[in-house]
């Protein structure tokens, strides 16, 4: 499958570059307003992962926007998990674990539940990076028909 290495035609690549911006913005929108409208961090994260999967298919693994994302996938995933845990742990300072400790603004606005907004963004990072990493792992396994058996665990 040559598209795997070299990516698709330049038309697809240019259009993908444009659309990827919209997809990422949409994913963040779904997550940012998840406490007001249907959606949330999980859905937003999957949307963003979809966008980078599209970029991977269009550009191949070697270059393009998805390669930069892939290099940071582990740190982004960890950042999401640590943000969630950190937000939950700060709850201890005002009461108990997982307590919503941020001040709250007017109802039906973005500031009405800042705690939930941050948690949604943390989950967006986790799910977006995690699903994309899963996709890349599947692709890479596919590329390696015979894993070396004599290498002692690759270390």
């Amino acid at each position: 499958m040559p598209s795997d290495r070299d990516g698709l035609s330049v038309i697809v690549q240019v259009v993908t570059r444009w659309i990827l911006v919209l997809i990422v913005v949409y994913g963040f929108g779904v997550a940012f307003f998840g406490h007001l409208t249907p959606g949330g961090g999980f859905a937003g994260g999957v949307v963003i992962a979809c966008g980078f999967v599209l970029a991977t298919l269009a550009f191949g693994g070697r270059s393009g926007p998805a390669a930069a994302f892939h290099r940071r996938v582990a740190s982004l995933e960890a950042a999401g998990a640590l943000t969630y845990l950190g937000m939950a742990a700060i709850g201890w300072t005002v009461g108990h674990f997982m307590q919503a400790w941020t001040p709250r603004g007017a109802d039906f606005t973005l500031a009405s539940a800042p705690f939930l907004v941050v948690l949604n963004l943390a989950i967006l990072l986790k799910v977006g990076a995690g699903l994309f990493a899963g996709f890349m792992v599947l692709v890479l396994f596919d590329r390696a028909p015979a894993a070396p058996r004599d290498g002692k665990g690759g270390g």
């Binding site: 406490h35 705690f115 004599d150 270390g155």
Partner: protein
């Protein structure tokens, strides 16, 4: 409304059976995608837009990944003729399942009329307690934040394990970094190019 739901559910059943019976793997994956889209419409009609959105996006990425994973084997025909015992066992299991399902659904409260006290409490108090207009989010991230933490942990562990297992392919790890310098891990060389390590 009921007619639409029943028609959609029948369509989903037919699609699921078709996906199982497809000889070509790629066609089966596409049929699964169609079933997933139908399921998201069902969720939307039943008043669960959160789940509908999640279902759509998950279906898109799952179908993409499955197509990507099956393109190599798409020409292979799956399935082989079944023995009589398998057919009998399958039909028996289905009859049993349908019987249990009919009995179980008859015992459920009517749709939208939950008997549990907490559900009413959430609907009336969630906005004031958490500030979230979307009750689903207030439950997922606030009242049931522990559950979401556990779910996030599951994803983290699963992906971390997958990355560890794939490390000899991705070239991560110390020997991979030393060998390939600052090159993107996305471009792991095929395993054939790697010198076998003794």
């Amino acid at each position: 409304m009921d007619a639409i739901l029943i028609g959609l559910a029948a369509f989903l059943l037919l699609g699921s059976v078709a996906a199982l019976e497809m000889k070509n793997l790629l066609s089966a994956v596409i049929t699964v995608g169609v079933v997933g889209m139908g399921l998201s419409i069902l969720f939307l009609l039943l008043g669960a837009p959160d789940i509908a959105i999640t279902q759509v996006v998950v279906e898109v990425i799952v179908v993409t990944v499955m197509i990507r994973a099956t393109t190599r084997t798409a020409d292979e025909e799956s399935g082989r003729p079944r023995s009589l015992a398998t057919v009998v066992a399958g039909v028996g299991a289905m009859v049993l399942l349908v019987g249990v399902a009919v009995a179980a659904f008859a015992a459920l409260p009517a749709f939208g009329a939950a008997r549990a006290v907490p559900s009413d409490w959430y609907l009336t108090h969630a906005q004031r307690a958490t500030g979230a207009a979307n009750v689903v989010t207030s439950i997922v991230l606030d009242f049931r934040g522990y559950d979401t933490l556990g779910e996030a942990t599951v994803i983290l562990v699963a992906i971390a394990s997958a990355l560890v297992l794939a490390r000899h392919v991705t070239g991560d790890g110390e020997s991979g970094r030393a060998r390939r310098g600052a090159a993107a891990p996305a471009d792991a060389p095929p395993a054939g190019e790697e010198a076998p390590r003794a």
